[in-house]
């Protein structure tokens, strides 16, 4: 299989949606390419698990078509979809050994014993489970169990996509990194399409080639981690990605200038006047908002946080609270300071959507 | 699985079979004795409430019903009240002999009431509790207190210990913390416990009849008097039987949501 296509997929639990509010998942068009690793990132209730379940077949969407390559699988039962899914907590068969767990899907498909053994050994080696193959799965640690869950998914050679539903939730933080690297290694080795649902942006940004940011049932932006960081298309993406999130300030925009509470900022492009009644905001990430010892917009400093590798200042510009980075050479900060914004990374948002300006 | 039609058919069939004897009782309770003896009928052709009226008008029956409800209520209140601090202690503290005491309590839950019939009879007679509602209420504590402790201990365990600690730091005295903060948190558990205590006391008849004679005779014992001149008064017996099912049905109807919720939480 080369790819998964979502053609107008939407879902409302309970059947008949009357308004947009009733949709758990709003109509979505997207193509997932084979061999890529995607992350579905968003807060709880944003629809990411619903989307995952539609792809795996545990939920039948109320609207739209799901295509594997060019075959319509919207109503095809899970068994026949050749996908694998790893859940939030390890799902293993308590009464079986690790080897028997891994062999289970193949036994159900009645493969010959030799083929099963070969495949099990192969996958176990890939996941570093060879040492525990003959132990009862029940007594192992959470991360080993998750690896077994993953292994059960990979053991079928015709598997075409692996879906992950927040799989590191119960893993000890110390082992999360190890498991994440293992997932990347498996991805590279097997060239599978992987879709990874999470609410943790670090996980998403380190694991995925492309991230789908979701909020309130909508796919708000799809792009590489870099895209999401540098050019957030939606204020939600700006706020959700990055720690701390993007500074958003109400402003009046005219041409290549923006007015924020009386302070004028320079923009890197020329923007048309937005229609009346629409909410206009300027967004700049704290990484591109710096305290300056020379000229800049006057701010009151509320507090300073030292994070070791960088220092942040929580300041107030006019009536708005923003976060700025403190340059390493600046030693002492008083109550008043000046802040500079990098025009190249200053974005304009009208009604939460980013607007591109014409070249200046 | 639970998908498909077959499980639903089996379930429906089972529920019908389960209700059949109860239905039959209701059937007979709505017919007269002569009607009953004259032949089988799958439903009452001339339904009559005369036996029910008879029971409601008869002071012996009414008194007996009141007696039953009274000792069950007393017992439930005592069991839950006494069990609450104990359940708290068992879950939150370790003390000398705690495991042994807990085990001893559970064995009381399993104690054959027949073993206790004779000694209770002698004991209660000696202290003047024979033939009183208090006597039966106390006798039922034999198994209901352990049951209450067992169930409540589980629910106490569901409340994180941090809440206790926070309250202590906030300056709450223990009694105030227990009554104002802790109890509301296990309200569901108290409800479930009260339900089970009610149920086990309401249904137990061996002790209830052994320890009573006339004043505190429970409803069940009065039922044995359902003889008439021409032999067993079947429709009276049936009507009385149906009435004994009413409190149980009412209670479970009211707690049905809590029970369903309890299952969903996996806490039962």
């Amino acid at each position: 299989m080369a790819r998964i296509t979502l053609d107008g997929i939407a879902h409302a639990y309970g059947g008949k949606p009357r308004s947009e509010q009733d949709y758990a998942l709003k109509p979505l068009h997207h193509v997932w390419e084979q061999g890529m690793a995607y992350a579905l990132l968003g807060p709880s209730g944003c629809g990411k698990t619903t989307l995952l379940n539609i792809i795996s077949g545990l939920v039948i969407p109320s609207e739209g078509r799901l295509l594997f390559d060019d075959i319509d699988v919207t109503r095809l039962p899970t068994k026949e979809r050749n996908i694998a899914q790893v859940f939030q907590f390890p799902v293993i068969y308590d009464t079986m050994t690790v080897a028997e767990n891994l062999a289970f899907p193949l036994k159900n498909r009645r493969l010959p014993r030799a083929a099963i053994e070969r495949r099990v050994t192969e996958i176990a080696a890939m996941l570093d489970l060879t040492g525990v193959l003959n132990r009862r799965a029940r007594g192992l640690t959470a991360d080993a169990k998750q690896k077994i869950s993953l292994g059960r998914g990979l053991v079928r050679s015709d598997v075409s996509a692996v879906l992950f539903d927040e799989p590191l939730t119960v893993i000890d933080p110390a082992l999360k990194w190890e498991l994440r690297s293992k997932l990347k290694a498996v991805h590279r080795a097997l060239d599978l399409l992987m879709i990874y649902v999470t609410h943790d942006q670090i996980e998403a940004l380190t694991f995925a080639d492309k991230v789908v940011v979701m909020n309130d049932g909508k796919a708000v932006q799809i792009g590489t981690p870099d895209d999401l960081f540098e050019r957030p298309e939606h204020t939600f993406v700006g706020y959700f990605i990055g720690s701390p999130g993007m500074n958003l300030m109400a402003a009046k925009v005219s041409g290549s200038r923006a007015l924020v509470d009386g302070v004028e900022l320079q923009l890197s492009a020329v923007y048309p006047d937005p229609p009346k009644g629409q909410r206009v905001q300027i967004g700049v990430r704290p990484d591109y908002t710096e305290l300056s010892s020379m000229a800049g917009a006057p701010v009151q400093v509320r507090r300073v946080a030292d994070l070791g590798r960088k220092r942040l200042a929580y300041v107030t510009l006019g009536g708005q609270q923003i976060v700025a980075t403190i340059p390493p050479e600046m030693s002492s900060i008083g109550d008043q300071a000046k802040v500079v914004f990098d025009p190249a990374h200053t974005h304009v948002y009208v009604d939460d959507i980013r607007v591109t300006g014409a070249a200046a | 699985m639970r998908q498909g039609v077959l499980p639903k058919i089996i379930l429906a069939a089972y529920l019908v079979l389960l209700m059949l004897p109860i239905y039959w009782l209701i059937n007979l309770s709505l017919r007269t004795n002569s009607d009953i003896m004259s032949g089988m009928a799958l439903w009452p052709h001339n339904p009559t409430l005369e036996k029910y009226v008879h029971i409601f008008k008869d002071p012996t029956w009414v008194h007996a019903f009141g007696v039953s409800l009274t000792y069950v209520a007393i017992n439930t209140i005592i069991s839950v009240t006494v069990a609450l601090p104990a359940a708290y202690a068992f879950n939150r503290y370790a003390f000398i002999g705690d495991k042994h005491l807990f085990f001893w309590l559970l064995t009381n839950l399993m104690a054959p009431t027949a073993v206790f019939a004779m000694p209770f009879f002698n004991l209660y007679y000696a202290v003047g509790l024979f033939d009183t509602v208090w006597g039966v209420a106390l006798a039922h504590c034999l198994f209901n207190i352990p049951l209450a402790v067992w169930i409540l201990e589980g629910f106490v365990g569901g409340v994180p210990r941090e809440i206790d600690e926070t309250a202590a730091i906030d300056g709450y005295s223990f009694p105030r913390f227990f009554v104002r903060i802790f109890l509301p948190l296990i309200a569901n558990g108290i409800g479930v416990t009260a339900f089970f205590c009610f149920m086990f006391s309401w249904v137990e008849q061996l002790l209830a009849t052994t320890l009573t004679a006339t004043n505190a005779l429970p409803f069940a014992a009065v039922m044995t008097r359902a003889y008439s001149v021409s032999g067993m008064d079947w429709s009276l017996l049936a009507a009385a039987g149906v009435l004994t099912m009413v409190p149980g049905a009412v209670v479970i109807w009211f707690v049905r949501n809590h029970i369903a919720k309890g299952f969903a939480l996996g806490r039962v």
Binding site: P77, T78, Q85, V91, D94, N108, S149, G153 | M1, R2, P7, K8, I10, L11, Y14, L18, M19, P21, I22, W24, L28, I36, M40, I78, T81, A86, Y88, R92, Y93, A94, F95, L101, F103, L106, T107, N108, M110, A111, P112, A114, V115, M118, P119, N122, L123, C141, L142, I145, V149, E204, Q205, L206, L237, T244, M245, G248, A249, R256, F263, G266
Partner: protein, 296 residues
């Protein structure tokens, strides 16, 4: 249960419970022990009998010994038969109850009903139900030509008591099993679907292992209740025909309160009690073992 502060002040909390247990359990048992080691020649004239009563009781060649032996055997057989029917049946029906929906509430309420009926009324219901003249069950069986007579035929009596117990208490097994099944997260069923497991495989590999703890409780409760059964058979058959359905409790009450044979009754009580204590202890141990293995 680790990491709890050792606090002997907790004894204050359990004092009320202790008081009741003393009154309801320890003192009565002491009375029984008292009677079991003494003999009486009429009002309040007691003298030591040591283990005399016990030796008679446990010796199948004495009258009381044979009687006890029979009753014990009868009761154990009864418990076993009931368990063998109720546990599989209970699990099977629990599997048929949907995991969500309006049917669940209704089913739980209907199933709980038999357990809320006073036990003598349970007896009365079946007393009526099994009569050939006025009861549907009795009429149906005799109508089919079967030789069914509860009061005169021991086999009919036995089958009837078993049916009554199954009717009365299978809902308990169902409710406990259902609670256990509901506690299994959906993800397990979903994973099994993805793995292509058959219905049987799901049952043996997921459901049954997860039901272990619940089943131990269910078996313990049911064994205890069947072992102690008194009211229902007493109302329906009175222990007969003959002594066909005279289970241990019924026999004990007959001896204690009916014949006022205090010594024998007391000895019987203690042996009976000891058996239940032992079974309790065995189950308690199994339970803690299961807990320990699960947390490992």
């Amino acid at each position: 249960m680790t990491g709890k502060p050792i606090n002997n002040r907790a004894w204050l909390f359990v004092l009320p419970v202790l008081a009741f247990v003393l009154f309801s359990s320890i003192i009565p048992v002491m009375t029984v022990v008292n009677y079991s080691i003494q003999d009486t020649m009429g009002a309040n004239n007691f003298f030591w009998n040591g283990d005399g009563w016990f030796r008679d009781l446990l010796n199948p060649s004495t009258a009381i010994g044979a009687r006890f032996d029979d009753a014990l055997f009868r009761t154990l057989a009864f418990s076993l038969v009931c368990l063998m029917i109720e546990v599989p049946l209970g699990i099977a029906i629990a599997l048929c109850i949907p995991r969500r929906g309006w049917l669940v509430g209704l089913t739980l309420v209907v199933m709980a009903l038999p357990m809320l009926i006073p036990w003598n009324v349970v007896g009365t219901i079946w007393q009526i139900f099994t009569r050939a003249d006025i009861g549907l069950f009795g009429a149906a069986l005799t109508g089919l030509g079967l030789h069914y007579n509860v009061t005169q035929d021991p086999i009919s009596a036995w089958i009837t008591i078993v049916v009554i117990d199954v009717w009365h208490w299978t809902p308990l097994v169902i409710l406990l099993s259902y609670a256990g099944l509901r506690a299994i997260p959906d993800a397990f069923y979903q994973a099994a679907q993805i793995d292509g497991a058959s219905r049987w495989a799901i049952f043996f590999n997921i459901e049954l292992p997860k039901l272990q703890k619940v089943l131990v409780i269910a078996v313990l409760l049911r064994f205890m209740q069947t072992f102690m059964i008194y009211t229902e058979p007493f109302v329906v058959t009175g222990g007969g025909p003959g002594s066909a359905t005279t289970f241990l409790s019924i026999d004990l009450v007959k001896i204690a309160l009916g014949q006022v044979d205090l010594g024998n009754a007391a000895a019987m009580s203690l042996v009976y009690y000891l058996i239940t204590l032992t079974v309790c202890w065995i189950f308690f141990t199994i339970m803690t073992q299961l807990e320990r293995r699960r947390d490992a």
